[in-house]
Every structure is written in C-alpha cells, then in structure tokens.
C-alpha cells in the first residue's frame, strides 16, 4: 500500500466537505417542514430566520389533519387506487412481459414495436382527456386506475428479467403438462420476486404521489386522492374552510401548522420505507436502463 500523496489527501478532504454540504442541502428543506409541523402556530407565524428547531411544541396541526374529513377521505381514495390499481398494474404487466419474452411467436416483434412506440410519441393532453371523458370515466376513481394500468417502462423491465430465466425450466414444465398461465404464475413470477418488488414499488409510489389526472378528471371532492387534497391545502390556502367551527384566530394558528403536518403525514410513509427498499429501487433503475 502506497501512502496517499498530499494532493490526494487534499482531494479527499474537499470531497468529504462537498458531500457533507450536499447532505445538509438535501435534508434541511425536509427538516424545515418537520420542525414547522411540530411548532405552535402563533410562534411560527412570528418567527423569522433559519428554523433549527420547532418553535414551541404542539401537535395541533397533526390533530387537525387526522380529524379532517377531506384528508381522511383522501387517504381512503388513495388506498383504493393503490390496491385496485396495483392489481391491474401487476396483472397486465406480467402478462405483457411474459408474451414479449417468449421465443418463436410471429406477432411478437410488431406488438413490441406497437407498445414501445407509445414511449416516444404521444397524442397529447387534450385528446387523452377527451377520450377518457368519452369512455365515461369522468368523476370516477377508475379514471385514475385504467388509463395508467400499464407503464411501458416497467413492462420492459419485467420482460428483460423474464428473458434471463433459463429456457429449460419452461420446457420441462411444458412436458409436465403445464400451460402458459401456470408457467407464468407458478414458475416465472415466484422466480422474479426481486423485479416484482421493484414494480410494485414503482407503481405504488406513482399512485401515491400522483395528483394531476385527479385534478383534470375529478370534480367531486369526495373522490379526491390525498395528494390533490394536500395540493389544495398548500397551494390555494384553502384551509380555513377545512377547519370547521374554531374561531378565526385559532384557525389561523392551526391552519399554519396544518399544512406542514399534512405534508409530513403524506410524505413520511415513503421516506421512512424507502431506505429499506432502496436496493430494489436501484435494481429497477439498472435493469430498465441497460436494456431500455
């Protein structure tokens, strides 16, 4: 082992300094929201400067969030979209990936082209909106499930994974009398758990975080998914109407912390989960990018 030269040590030192700076810059905005959500509303409003700790301590914002009917129905709707949507996502994606990974099927190449083409050329927002509307999906949670039932990117990830499964497995299953559905669901899927996990995470995060389709397809507040509710709270200062009977001054204080608490409550689940799932996510990025 050669001793590191002076230049190398200076490089390493600056590298660590830069990385620590990166960590601070990444974390601070999130901590700021967390501190604000735990502060007392009136103290937070009068506070100026860099927030390094909650101002006072109060859970009023969280209480308001967790007792708010719009937010609760938002969670309920998002949960429905997540569960039913994931069902559609995973079923269709596995079927498509299985078909596209088989050998010696004549229409496979044209169908592959037919699918991949949609990644590069889209009809645009307005025709998409009008078509979904013409199917009668407006003001229905199905408008958030059916139009996004398959992601081409995810389909290709799964196909790549399926293609790497040894052909002999499939052949011997055939000899034992298994059909394609049995092979897919009894052999391929169990063998592909890492990629199944990746796709559930990708689709799941997608459903959890999405709001735009909900904004254009839904009018009925009862149907709004959680992110659309949060958007209305933080971007339109629509919180006075959500607080009900409290007096004006009280509600201004609570409103101030409610929006931060709403952010934490809807973001924390993913941020807390993802470090444990990180390796799967990372695997997905790599499989997807190498053979895109």
């Amino acid at each position: 082992m050669i001793k590191p030269s002076l230049g190398e040590r200076i490089f390493d030192f600056f590298n660590v300094v830069v990385m620590v700076l990166m960590i601070i810059l990444t974390l601070y905005p999130m901590l700021y929201i967390l501190f604000s959500s735990l502060s007392e509303g009136n103290k937070l409003i009068s506070f100026n400067g860099i927030l390094l700790w909650p101002q006072g301590f109060s859970l009023e914002g969280y209480k308001a969030v967790l007792s708010n009917p719009t937010i609760l129905s938002g969670f309920k709707n998002t949960l429905f979209i997540l569960v039913v949507g994931l069902g559609f996502n995973m079923t269709l994606t596995s079927l498509g990936a299985y078909f596209l990974s088989r050998e010696g099927v004549m229409l496979q190449k044209p169908i592959m082209f037919f699918i991949v083409f949609t990644m590069f050329f889209q009809g645009g927002l307005v025709p998409f909106f009008l078509i979904v509307k013409s199917y009668g999906l407006l003001d229905s949670l199905w408008s958030l499930i059916l139009p996004t039932a398959v992601s081409t990117f995810n389909l290709i990830i799964m196909r790549t994974y399926f293609m790497a499964i040894p052909k002999e497995l499939e052949e011997s299953a055939f000899l034992d009398g298994a059909g394609h559905f049995t092979i897919l669901f009894r052999i391929f899927i169990p063998l592909s758990m890492p990629v199944v996990a990746v796709l559930i995470l990708y689709y799941g995060v997608g459903h959890w975080n999405s709001w735009f389709n909900a904004m254009i397809f839904l009018r009925d507040q009862q149907l709004f998914p959680i992110q659309l509710v949060v958007r209305n709270i933080i971007l339109e200062n629509d919180n006075a109407s959500m607080l009900g009977t409290t007096t004006l001054i009280q509600s201004r204080d609570v409103a101030e912390t409610l929006k931060y608490a709403a952010i934490i409550v809807t973001t924390a689940p993913i941020l807390l989960l993802y470090p444990f799932l990180q390796k799967y996510f990372v695997k997905g990025v790599m499989v997807g990018a190498l053979k895109g």
Partner: protein
Amino acid sequence: MLKTRLGKDLLRNKWLYVMILPVVIYYVLFHYVPLYGTIIAFKQFVPAKGILGSDWVGLKHFEDFFSSIYFFRVIKNTVLLSFFNLLLGFPAPIILALLLNELKSPIFRRITQTITYMPHFITLVVVAGIIRYFTLSDGLLNDVIAFFGGERISFLQQPESFRPIYIISEIWQQIGWGTIIYLAAITGIDQQQYEAAKMDGANKLQQIRHVTLPGILPTIMIMLILSLGNIMNVGFEKIILLYSASIYETADVISTYVYRKGILEFSYSYSAAVGLLNSVINFTILLLANSFSKRASKNSLW
C-alpha cells in the same frame, strides 16, 4: 384462413395471444385512440358532434398558433427552460457520481447516497409547497436576504426568478437519483485500468478524466439522447403547481399553455394542434439525436 403461416402461429400459440390481448386492448384504448384523437387538431371539434362528426378546418389551428402573440413566448420559454435544465441538470449527477465513487468510507458513501436519493420520492405537490414556503416574502430565503440588509422579494411573483427556481429545485430533487446509473457504470470499469494509470503517475483528477469518464461515456450518451428526446416536455406538473399569471412571461411553456387552453378554456382543437406540434418537434429531436449519436459514437437507442 388457418392454413396461412400466421393462422398456424395464432392457433399454435393461442394461449399466448390470449395473454397479450388485454394488454393490446389497453394500449389501443389509452394510447392509440388518443393518438387517433389528435385529428381534432385539423377539425373544429364540437363535443356534441364527436371526433368523427366535427368539421374539417385544415391547418387553421396551426396558423392561429403561429400568428398568436403566445407563439414566440411559449416556444422561447420551453426551449430556454429545457436548455438550462439540460446544461446544468444533466452533468450534475455525473459529477456527484464521480465524487461519490472517490469516497473512502463505504458507510459514509451509503449514507450520502441514501439521503441524496430521498427527494426523488417526494411528490411534486410537496416540492412545490416547499419552494413556495421558502420563497415567500416572509419566507426563509428572504429572512436570510433581509439579515444581510437586502430587499425582500416575492420570488414566485418575479418573472426573472422563475427559471433559477425551477432549475435549482429540479437539481435538488433529481441529482441523487440520477447518480444510480452512472455509479453502476463506474462499477463496470476494469480495475486494471486504474492500476495502469497509477503506474503512469496519474493523480486522482487525471484518473477521473482519463479512466472513469471514458469508461462511462456510453452510458452518458444514452442518457443524453433520452433527455434530448424529452426536451420539449419540461416538467409541466411542477410549473402548473408553481406559476401564476404574474410570471407567465417566463414560466408559460408549450405544455402548460396546452393545459390552460384545452382543459381550462375548452379550446380543444386549438390546444390539440399545439400539443401535436410539440410531440412532432420532440420526436424529431429524438430521431436526430439518435442518428447523430449512432454515427459519432456507435451508441444508440435502436
């Protein structure tokens, strides 16, 4: 009919075709029918008459767009925002990946990675919220400016601050995530090349320049083609969450204009025409970038 080759194949693989059928139906219903729906760009679409029944108007909507006062503004904003985003946002993860790769402590590297990936998972709704709270006239950024004796500015109301806000927040959210693919590419570089470089007396920076960078160049090229192919689709969800009439001057891009005209003002045909134009430009850039890269470096998408 079943005597033809295709007929035989359909029969032999019928269960496979049964499996792909729902997927094909999905793509037809939600991708190809909307693609077909873009013909309303050449019609005067009236909801009561439907897509087929509406009257043809030829290129009228395109001409309207070309001659509208918004044409130049939205094209300019789209191109500028994309250009700066590419110029600053594209190299950022490459630089971070190179630095992460040089970190001595594997634990510190893992921590840094885990933390810098995080913002990728935050929904744009929340990112927009954070941006808003930070840039308010009594927000954090202004508190700092005021502390140093500066003037408080309502950044999100100022046309000239929109582009920096957009690009900085974009880098904040995506830099860590973008490093994954480059770090994977770096892992694939043959260690012997580093040994050889060290023997020749290369220092850290020279090793990065002459070994690591050339090693990940194919990956960089593919990522560049993909970003170029998306250049006209600057993150419109984020813009919609952030902008307001007072900054349309710099923030209004083609896709937000399409959204306002089409979804909010019901000018369906006109905004379909603008959207179609956008798709065509995008696709053309992708084809050009791909064929250029194929010729220059043998890296291509197909």
